[in-house]
Symmetry: C2
Amino acid sequence: MDEQAKKTALRMIPYGLFVLTSKSKDGSELSAATVNWVTQTSFAPPLVVVGVKNDSGAHKHIKESGVFAVNVVGKDQLDLAYTFFKPTQREGNTLNGQAFENGPATGVPLLTATPAWWECRLVAEVAKGDHTTFIGEVVEAGVRTQDQTILMRDHNLNYGG
Amino acid sequence: MDEQAKKTALRMIPYGLFVLTSKSKDGSELSAATVNWVTQTSFAPPLVVVGVKNDSGAHKHIKESGVFAVNVVGKDQLDLAYTFFKPTQREGNTLNGQAFENGPATGVPLLTATPAWWECRLVAEVAKGDHTTFIGEVVEAGVRTQDQTILMRDHNLNYGG
């Protein structure tokens, strides 16, 4: 295989940015990580796929609790996205300095600064590579503000290839 | 669940457009369909997820042959994308009027007008909704021209929610 062509071609998939949130089984630990490998894969039921690094806190928590949320990063929220490249630090009702509330359906944290979110219950997973493909059914959703999702390519960011 | 919020939130996932190509088991039938539910989900091995409608020709062919290709639709190729919303008609070395060649690794059709493509071998599938989540390992790729992928939101197109 032409490795350079593979990298270039796969980097042509356009991506937004999302903060993936989850919790440990007993809810005592929370995780929040910026991800981009997200797509819907069914209307009925509404299913969403997220690719999550195998050695990440989010991966551990989703495996344990079977629930997660996707928080949409708005087009002017690059700083917020960067915040969640770092390990998750909770202080009161903040994660890495960002306020959160508990999701109504699953109890996972929802970042109140983001324009929209949805909560998922895990229905399937495929562990075949360095990331696991988690498939979640959307069980609750909310929209806080009208905004467009940030686009990685507008900021010369890549995670793929 | 708030159905309107679910629809609005899920439609915030930004998508490109891609022509998914495949073939029947014996190679006598070819399929080409415009899709948008595409994301990478692993670097090593390189894995890609595609959500494919259960009652489509592409779905039948991928199940039969276990191979498919993703052809990237360039930013000025909206007409090409629309062409493959229609049933696939082969005439000589064209599909719906678009020239193709056979992929070097899998033999599935590659549209020569598109800026980039990759071929996949099916490694897993999850059938939980009205679309099937196919997970393919990228086995060959090519880049024909420098271009950006078309963005659905730039054309007020939605397939999600």
